[in-house]
Symmetry: C2
Subunit: 399 residues, 2 copies
């Protein structure tokens, strides 16, 4: 053991095409070499302000309370519930995958009375089902949905749900962990009251920060609380006092991580938001075209498939883990397996942030073809790559 400890780290080079993290932009890693400063240094306070401005642009909001929580997207989820929900509140949660399930769990841990609106893992939550549920309850405090369900590859429509939430005077909370930066969020336009995300997917940063925004209706609920938020660490009033105004000490925000997020957002601004959204869509489309041409079946409901994360069924008789191990050890490619009821049944292929390139689409399809054929699943040689190339050339762009 002793010898091992003092060696310098030498991590393998991976092409990260799983559900996250994605490969970090080189500019972002370089930014982490900058000297660290204190958490109240005038320099970092300026960086915080710029970071919040860029986050507002990516979220599509003018919300003053827009910042990054010092934790992963899961911390953002916890913060969303523990700040805006109090014991006894009725919370309606869309559950059509692991992350909806977790939202329900997090809300219950805050003492909420959780009413799940369920759908099969791979289908959207139907607005009609949301409406029926909201109508059944007198006073719903909050409606929460996962925008991009990372466990299934489904893109949830938000417009009708937002309208319904407002009609029933409920706050509307959205998990944008997988979508932010790769998909238009339009927080203000869509009337989303609370939204959280992560840093390591479509933003191409390291994980550990949770971009977060909340609007006026949410803040009013926060001010009306009858008791303190149950977590000191995730108390948004305290966190936002550090980010803005008095810059009061709450916790030692990690300057180096904020540098990284700032740089990742600058990369995104340089590319342009619309271009990033198009890029994610284009490569996701090409991947799907390729997979289908190889005779594989996409898992998510048609018309509601994510661009940045594609779920595809493991063919009959093929061992999920053996294929993933081949991809990792022979090609250095990571893809994700299924979770919960989809364990061993699907693969989850991410094309997020810096990992969303045409080269990665072609490489993945080639490597998958080879790995599948070695495990006995024959596809027409080159069919996947050919279909992807055709899609990339613009001949067959999916809606």
């Amino acid at each position: 053991m002793a010898e091992k400890l003092y060696e310098e780290l030498k991590s393998p080079s991976r092409i990260l095409l799983g559900p996250g993290p994605s490969n970090i932009y080189p500019r972002v890693q370089q930014a982490m070499l900058q000297p660290v400063v204190g958490y109240l240094d005038p320099y970092i306070l300026g960086i915080l302000e710029d970071t919040a401005s860029m986050l507002r642009a990516v979220f599509g909001t003018s919300n003053q309370l827009t910042l990054a929580i010092s934790g992963t997207g899961t911390a953002g989820m916890d913060a969303s519930f523990c700040n805006f929900v109090e014991p006894g509140d009725v919370v309606v949660v869309g559950v059509n995958g692991l992350f909806g399930d977790r939202m329900a769990d997090a809300a219950r841990r805050c003492g909420a009375e959780v009413v799940p609106v369920e759908a099969e893992w791979g289908r959207i939550i139907e607005p009609a089902a949301i409406e029926a549920t909201l109508k059944k309850h007198k006073k719903v405090k909050l409606l929460s949905l996962v925008h991009a369900e990372t466990s299934t590859g489904v893109l949830q429509p938000l417009e009708e749900a937002s309208y319904l939430a407002r009609q029933h005077d409920a706050l509307f909370l959205v998990d944008a962990v997988t979508s932010l930066g790769g998909q238009k969020m339009a927080i203000d336009e869509r009337g989303i009251d609370i939204c959280y995300s992560c840093s390591q997917k479509c933003l191409g940063c390291l994980s550990g920060l949770s971009p977060f925004t909340a609007g006026e209706r949410a803040l009013a609920a926060l001010q009306k609380r009858s008791r303190k938020v149950q977590s000191f660490y995730l108390d948004l009033s305290l966190i936002s006092s550090y980010w803005t105004g008095s810059h009061a000490y709450h916790h030692t925000a990690s300057c180096i991580m904020i540098y990284a997020l700032h740089e990742a957002l600058a990369v995104l601004m340089d590319e342009g938001l619309d271009k990033s959204f198009e890029r994610h869509q284009r490569h996701g489309d090409a991947l799907k075209a390729g997979l289908e041409s190889m005779g594989l079946k996409l898992h998510a409901q048609e018309g509601h498939r994510l661009s940045m994360l594609t779920s595809v069924q493991v063919p009959e008789g093929i061992d999920d883990v053996r294929i993933r191990n081949r991809l990792l050890h022979e090609f250095g490619i990571e893809i994700g397996g299924g979770l919960g009821p989809l364990k061993s049944r699907i693969w989850r292929i991410g094309l997020m942030g810096g990992s969303s390139t045409a080269e990665n689409v072609l490489l993945l399809l080639s490597a998958l073809e080879k790995s599948l054929s070695r495990e006995g699943f024959q596809t027409e040689p080159g069919a996947g790559v050919a279909a992807a190339l055709k899609s990339l050339s613009g001949a067959e762009v999916r809606p």
Copy 2:
């Protein structure tokens, strides 16, 4: 604004002699350039294991549950209370500074009945006061103390408190945010049941991870819980399932940050724990000798002063902020101001991790002498540096 966003970051070089962060070891920042891998990659699982082993060495424990929580030290505090305390539990908290105060706050947010044992900000919590309080209550679930009170510079004795906690069948929780790596923790020897720390002080890493350990008695309490932990993100059973055994997904642990912590721990192991403790003591002693020779008064109770953080009183008629601004803008040195009732009354000078060097002691004393004299506080020229040099030479090492 637009122009500003796309510029590459260029942060100023600071000498960080405040209450944390300290300057990051260059080896640690270099490690952050390593390629990122997935959170279930065989490579990172090995790194997690090594990191846990090194943390055990630094904590002085054989506790299986030893890991780093994905958040700052404040997250470690929250986790300590929300996992081991349930509504209605009686919790005795030593309050002699901001961090004791926060512990009490965090415990109350978990529904605990908090009984504070108070002392002046600058003095230790007397074991006799702890004993009297424990005796007054029939069933105390947990006793918590801050080992190194960062807001006052006081080092809390732990041995008697640990004995008392065990005698009253209470768990013993210790905040080691400022002490870990710079001071012997001896978790097992001292019978500490739960302990949390941070990465950005004596470990010389970036902030954002909270080293954490819990022993058998604590785990037994965890298993006996009647309800789920109120935070999903900080649920230790879920976090530890990711670190060990099944490596079940809980949140996307930040490989890059774990690389950084691993490297910081390797730096510490290379130096040797005892040597690090001695170094922190030697430089803290020299600083104190210098400050006193300049006619300044140390704030913390004699015999109970921290090595890695020295609190010194702001002289009568001197403006706290003006001096700190001079140090920052003229010398690039950050020191800390006072918090709460000590605001404007003390400075807090840290010599932690990579920042704990003889050069920094001499530089700080020189810069402080110059800054004070410009503000009208005259000291004998060179007296501080001379006393520090004498102390460093071993002629006057304090106990």
